[in-house]
Each structure stands twice: as structure tokens, then as C-alpha cells.
Symmetry: C2
Subunit: 100 residues, 2 copies
Amino acid sequence: MIDRTFRALADPTRREILRLLKDRDLAAGDLAAHFDMAFASVSHHLQVLRDSGLVQSRREGQFIIYSLNTTVFQDALQHLMGIAGTAPSKKSTTRKRGDS
Amino acid sequence: MIDRTFRALADPTRREILRLLKDRDLAAGDLAAHFDMAFASVSHHLQVLRDSGLVQSRREGQFIIYSLNTTVFQDALQHLMGIAGTAPSKKSTTRKRGDS
């Protein structure tokens, strides 16, 4: 599942959708209006995000409203922080260990 | 480039390699010994990690030594935190906004 989350994150349009949904829930049409691409393409990206769990949808009347699933997003973040050893501060490129 | 980083992260073996390299630099053979898979498979994962920039390699005598590129890793982490709005603490699944 976490694999799917990272794969979903590996696209600039999908990351932009997540950024937009961070501020508020949006209908597919509102989201599509933000991008210079076919509605079908945006719709496909939304499907990938839904499959990954990063985004949820619900019906409100005739609209499908999309929202960010912050739990799944935070899980991915925590997972990365777990690999790195929590503190996101170190900036050295390589650990020293003899010469190269 | 960040797309490639997230794609590289979308695999449990590659994330485990990063975890191992967090503690210390390792030769390909040392890394391969950790996994119940063919050396060629581990080698392929190392190549994907190198292509993504998450891992660097250098020659030491007859060995190729791999190390974590913490800068690239932290960039991915910062990128995610930028989408989420920094604080990795919220745990609610959906924002409230009328009923569903």
C-alpha cells in the first residue's frame, strides 16, 4: 500500500492536486480547471490518487467531491522519516569513511 | 528528478537498502547478503536508487561502496512536508465540510 502511495506521489500533476486539496475539498471540475490538460487526464490522476488512498471522494448531489486523506499522507511522511532517522535537518551529502 | 525519487521509494527492497545505508556505507555484496534474492536483483535496485540520486557509489579498491545521499533524501522529505503544510501531526482522516 505504501508502494502505491509513493508511486502516486511520483507525478507533478498529482502532487499539485494534493496541494490544492490540502486547503479545501474540491469537485473534479474545480480541480480540472486548474490544469491545462484534458478533463480525462485529470480524472485519471484522481483515480490513481484514490487507488493509493491519498484522496477520498464522496457524492454531494450531482458532484463528486474530492478530499485529502491526511492519515495516508502522514503515514507516507512518517515512513520516510523512519528511514532517515526522524530529524529532517542533516545536510551533508556523504558520510566520511576513508577516501574514495 | 523528484518524480524519480518517489518512484525509487515505491519498493520495499529499495527502502530497506536505504535503511541499511543510513547506518553506514556498504559494498554491493554486503547489501545483497541482507536479502533473500539474486545478486542481480539487488544490483538492479541499486541502479534504480543511483539513477534517482538517493544513493551514490564510489570505488574502493576492488569494491563498489554505496552510500545514502542524505541531501536528495531530505529534499524528498521536505517536498512532502511542503505539500502537507509542514507539521506531521494531524491525524484526522477527512476535513469536515457538511455531511457526505
